[in-house]
Assembly symmetry: C2
Homo-oligomer: 251 residues x 2
């Protein structure tokens, strides 16, 4: 399927692309869809395309020799899937990418992408910023893996979800299965289940797929790894904003 210029501009990476450049890109890309559970590419496959998610969510993961799946990240609309691989000029995919739900993706040949990396206004800059941000998140998370308890990580993640999807913290549905979330947090699903009990005391209640964060102060103070070191992290502040407004704390 041919991508429309508007579709491109809806993606952060190409948001301010010119008409001429956009048309060029349209001619060199297409939109593909990926059904739930379907692999976009697998570990070891040759890298043929650069992908950006237009709709849906993809799980990026690796498999341990023991057959255990380790989820690297869950990417959503606007995210590029393999920018790092394209940029680092790797030959083979280092990870698997599988659709969490029905997805549509912008597909650009990797050779074309590599040739024009710095041609488009702002694209190199945006890629740089996006990689830098992802690196930063990874560092925070690696830190939290060793620093925080499982419950803290879960609480932290639920709040991030809430901000990421612009959910109402007072009540929302988990966008993914609990098994997937646990894998994303690098804990076992059993451990994940058990943490949900303990979070009740911290103002976060989960029953089934329904989550509600009652008291962000309590929950926030309990969890946020970033806050603990700096003043207040972005997630934390945003969540407070959301809840304060609803609770009538705001101006």
């Amino acid at each position: 399927m041919i991508a429309a210029l508007d579709t491109l501009r809806a993606l952060p990476l190409f948001s301010d692309i010119s008409k001429a450049e956009g048309d060029l890109l349209v001619r060199n890309s297409r939109i593909v869809t990926c059904k739930r559970g379907q692999f976009l590419f697998m570990h070891g496959d040759r890298i043929t395309h650069f992908y950006v998610i237009c709709r849906g969510a993809m799980q990026v993961f690796r498999e341990t020799p023991g057959g255990h799946e380790v989820t690297n990240d869950i990417l959503i609309a606007g995210d590029s899937i393999n920018a790092d691989e394209v940029v680092a000029r790797q030959d083979l995919h280092q990870v698997n990418a599988r659709a969490v739900e029905e997805c549509s993706l912008l597909e650009i040949p990797v050779s074309w992408m590599r040739e024009h990396l710095t041609d488009f206004d702002h694209m190199a800059g945006k890629l740089l910023a996006s990689l830098a941000n992802r690196l930063h998140s990874m560092q925070i998370e690696a830190e939290q893996l060793t620093t925080m308890s499982a419950s803290q990580m879960v609480a932290c993640y639920l709040q991030k979800l809430c901000v990421l999807y612009n959910f109402d913290p007072r009540g929302f549905e988990l966008p993914y299965t609990k098994t997937l979330i646990a894998s994303r947090l690098r804990i076992e699903k059993e451990t994940f289940s058990r943490t949900l009990q303990t979070l009740r005391e911290q103002g976060i209640t989960v029953s089934g797929t329904r989550v509600s964060i009652m008291d962000a102060r309590k929950a926030g103070n309990f969890v946020c790894g970033e806050c603990s070191v700096a003043e207040e992290c972005g997630t934390h502040r945003l969540l407070h904003g959301k809840l304060d407004k609803q609770a009538g704390y705001g101006t």
Copy 2:
């Protein structure tokens, strides 16, 4: 101190800089030194410069509320220290940077750097590649944190060290204190100490600061997280090359 053109060209980031561009950069940068234990910048400080290490090693770390130091990375000559912060347009340093040993650093004003990010031939590309590589390493390491035992991580790290510094695997000195390495691996120094015993059986012996990796096949098979999923990782292959040559396996 003024940087010489040759000094710049010795850094991967500027290795193929033209005379004209190099001169421009020389006029907009300087060389600073940092004594062992001295902070280059601290968490919360305003970001004023972009730094590249010319000589020495720097520890990049954060502090948990409990006062525990979490080492993000140990950077050496050629590495840029805060490329991610510069590129992500952050205002304040998110981490501490402290000299592990006497260091000299190329110091470029962050404003100048941000303006000329894409001006220099290849610089944006190199920064992209470097960020992508660092991101990839972080992902591997985060995976290993949950996948591998402490001994495996230590064994893996010793081999990486060996390749990174071009040490002779049959016998070399640890370039950092054990406490620092343990912190870098996100394990406690006590745990680190204890793993060294168990590694003896795997062909790696450590006494004092002296390390020798006897049998890379044994040690390699035991440890490498990358190998376990792909065929052979770069580190592993390089190390095998080194040892095979010495052991007379090579052609």
